[in-house]
């Protein structure tokens, strides 16, 4: 099991452009959460997907959107990129049936997005 995999590992975009980041969850996991980690900060929750629907959302603008596919993989889309969107984007997967009682979230290596 490769665990949680994210692509690409690094990305450079220009202000105003759009970007799509991808995540494949750990085998057996059905829930995907996305986090943004700015330099020197802890990860900040963006949103969570389960059964192809957004279940929870953090304090992020509508420019941040996502999708979950039937195979549980997920995409994070960011439109109209700003310099402040430069960060490490982390994907975490877990099993929803375990989540209610507390379960381990497995993280990917992240995608480093630089907006210039």
């Amino acid at each position: 099991d490769a665990g949680v995999t994210q692509s690409p590992t690094h990305l450079i975009k220009t202000r105003g452009q759009q970007v799509t980041l991808r995540c494949s969850p750990k085998s057996g996991h059905d829930t995907v959460s996305w986090y943004q980690q700015a330099l020197g900060q802890g990860p900040q929750f963006i949103f969570q997907y389960y059964e192809e629907e957004e279940r929870q959302r953090g304090n992020f603008p509508d420019r941040f959107s996502g999708h979950q596919f039937p195979n549980y993989s997920s995409e994070l889309n960011v439109n109209a990129l700003l310099l402040g969107d430069s960060a490490l984007y982390l994907c975490a997967s877990s099993r929803m049936e375990m989540s209610l009682s507390g379960t381990e979230a497995f993280f990917g290596q992240g995608t480093r997005l630089t907006v210039v």
């Binding site: 009682s101 990917g108 290596q109």
Partner: protein, 110 residues
């Protein structure tokens, strides 16, 4: 507002010395508390969580609801403990999203 505070950005100790990484939280309900660790060039991984009451790699953490703290402790630090440590809180709004602190870098010197 739900918040996790890790007051130290950097904690530097000698090998064999005791370690305590501080974590305080603000949350009105019954939270679940976690410690995540990130070793150099590795992904973020769970170290321990309060509901399991485990000791992992010699680390323990006790949830103190009166002081709203979840400090991470180890009696004798090892060089391989050097890493970034994040305290995190879950159980917010009925979901399982994690709220992280800013993290503490632990450096264990020989």
């Amino acid at each position: 507002a739900q918040r996790v505070t890790q007051p130290e950005k950097l904690l530097s100790v000698f090998k064999g010395a005791p370690v305590e990484l501080k974590c305080n939280y603000s949350y009105s309900g019954s939270p679940e508390l976690f410690w995540y660790v990130q070793y150099s060039r590795q992904r973020l991984q769970l170290l321990l969580r309060h509901i399991s009451r485990e000791s992992i790699k010699g680390f323990t953490a006790d949830l103190n609801k009166g002081e709203t703290s979840f400090h991470l402790k180890k009696p004798f630090a090892q060089e391989e403990d050097s890493a970034m440590y994040y305290c995190a809180l879950s159980g917010l709004d009925g979901g399982n999203k994690l709220v992280f602190g800013a993290g503490t870098i632990l450096r264990v010197k020989s």
